[in-house]
């Protein structure tokens, strides 16, 4: 493994339209589209059956539901687009029909994109087609399967933090603030989010943008740091005070990332510069550190989530009135991009 392979992996989740795939699809996929969609529906039914025991267990034990980020199995399929996509894709790879197509050169891969400027979307690319085996994971009344030829799809690949912030606000119904409190984490987790229930989280989205950034001298991170309007947005005092009270002692076991409130310049001249220097070192030295870094940040995100920083219900209402915390009205049950 190398840093370059991590970058390539991040780009592999982009939806990639090209003439070769269009031609291959016209020859091999389009004539068998009905069969493919029938197969996809059957595989989705199989997956629902596999997940059924988890859903049942969660429903019978509501007090200790299985929590994955904001997800609860009892609300399945809401919020489970990634799990469903992954499981369906694995089964697709075993289907003789799909294998025939892949042997002809048709691309079959997972994708993670912005859809219609409104959603984070885990889906599948098959040649020049977009397949969504989890179309009901936001609105369960929708058909389980959706598809479109790429030329008719309104999509964008994940490639900038500013766009990410727009879509996250819209899709996750969160208020977003710059992570100026844990500067070492800024490269992979530059955003703090206040969820509709008032909980403060570091926001992740499958590391796609920061991993791409490793191949581009951290230009996306630097662009975000240059966004003065965003970077100067102050975290509501309740949250800033709580972070200081809980993490100010900087115990590694509590949170491995140092709590050190910083200005954009301090982040730029500190962790960003250090990482840019590191990325110019030989891979043997760089890769283990980068790999450990992303693991460290991911663990920190979980630990902050478990710390469960949120205000009292009375204060939450006050913060909502000031539009510093999202409204409760649209709080989603299980939308997550982790």
């Amino acid at each position: 493994m190398s840093v370059a392979s991590l970058v390539a992996k991040a780009y592999s989740f982009d939806l990639a339209a090209n003439a070769t795939q269009r031609a291959l699809s016209a020859r091999w996929v389009t004539p068998r589209l009905d069969e493919i969609l029938t197969t996809l529906r059957r595989l989705r039914e199989e997956i629902d059956a596999v997940f059924a025991p988890k859903i049942a267990a969660d429903r019978t034990n509501a007090a200790q539901g299985t929590v994955y980020g904001e997800q609860y199995w009892r609300y399945y399929p809401i919020g489970f687009c990634r799990q469903i996509r992954d499981a369906v894709l694995e089964r697709m790879r075993r289907e003789p029909l799909i294998r025939e197509l892949v042997e002809q050169g048709v691309v079959l891969k997972p994708i993670f994109i912005f859809l219609k400027s409104s959603y984070f979307q885990n889906a599948i690319q098959l040649g020049h087609f977009y397949l969504d085996a989890a179309n009901d994971t936001v609105f369960p009344e929708k058909p389980k399967i959706d598809w479109a030829p790429l030329q008719k799809l309104d999509f964008e690949n994940l490639d900038s933090w500013s766009r990410f912030i727009e879509v996250a606000r819209r899709y996750l119904k969160v208020e977003i603030y710059p992570n100026r409190f844990f500067p070492l984490g800024f490269l992979a987790a530059p955003l703090l989010a206040i969820r509709p229930n008032g909980r403060l989280d570091l926001l992740l989205a499958q590391h796609q943008i920061p991993l791409k950034d490793l191949g581009d001298d951290l230009q996306r991170t630097r662009a975000l740091l240059d966004d003065k309007a965003f970077m100067q947005r102050p975290l509501p005092p309740f949250y800033a005070d709580r972070l200081n009270a809980v993490f100010g002692a900087n115990q590694f076991s509590q949170l491995p990332l140092e709590y050190a409130p910083s200005t954009p310049d301090m982040i730029r001249n500190g962790v960003v510069r250090e990482f840019r220097d590191l990325l110019h070192q030989p891979d043997a030295q760089t890769f283990p550190v980068v790999s450990a870094y992303f693991e460290l940040v991911t663990k920190s995100v979980r630990l902050l989530r478990q710390t469960d920083i949120r205000p009292s219900s009375e204060m939450l209402e006050q913060l909502r009135a000031q539009q510093l915390v999202p409204s409760a009205a649209e709080a989603p049950k299980g939308w997550s991009v982790d």
Binding site: R93, V271, E274, V289
Partner: protein, 195 residues
């Protein structure tokens, strides 16, 4: 290795820690052990206990099938050279590394009634490739006649592992990178077994 008391504030500090960790490659025991297969059950296996399921084991006596395959496309098992859909039963001491023949796996048929054998595995952990093994004992010819005896993985990415290699406990290091994940994975594993 001793855990740092204070949180990490710089890439340099992280680098020092990582270099210290890499000086001590070792085999980590998985929390998955002594699991008897259950008919008509699909169960997720989180080999490294990081909270992300790595493989799916599916058992069905009436179909019949016993399948093991990677949950993501980069998680694979060592398969037979003749048929990539059949998992290769490995004896103790077999090398699992980049030179092994991996595929997404599936059929455990060659393990039926064959006593104790090993499945060689590769999986992604923090976007790095790791190798490991799952020890499976089959006392009969039915899919549900098997059990996972134990499992282990090599903590250093891209490093070969020998099937059946003994785990060397180094609590400090595992606590640093895998302790929390292992604890969560163990809880999840117990919860799954109960359900």
């Amino acid at each position: 290795m001793v855990l740092p008391k204070n949180s990490l504030g710089s890439v340099a500090a992280l680098t020092s820690l990582v270099l210290a960790q890499h000086a001590s490659a070792f085999v980590v025991s998985s929390s998955i052990s002594n699991y008897s297969f259950v008919d008509e059950t699909d169960i997720n296996l989180d080999i490294d206990g990081d909270g992300t399921d790595d493989f799916l084991l599916s058992i069905n006596d009436s179909s019949p099938w016993a399948e093991l395959y990677g949950i993501s496309s980069s998680n694979e098992v060592v398969v037979t050279s003749g048929d990539p859909s059949r998992i290769e039963p490995l004896s103790s001491g077999s090398v699992v590394n980049a030179g092994s023949t991996f595929n997404q796996g599936f059929a455990l048929d060659d393990f039926f009634s064959a006593g104790t054998n090993y499945v060689g595995i590769t999986f992604q952990r923090s976007s790095a490739t790791h190798y490991g093994w799952i020890e499976i004992n089959y006392s009969g010819g039915q899919p549900s006649d098997g059990m996972i005896v134990s499992a282990a993985w090599e903590n250093v990415a891209d490093t070969a592992i020998l099937t059946g290699a003994s785990a060397v406990p180094e609590p400090g290091t595992t606590a640093l990178w895998g302790g929390l994940g292992t604890a969560l994975g163990l809880l999840a594993w117990r919860r799954r077994k109960r359900s």
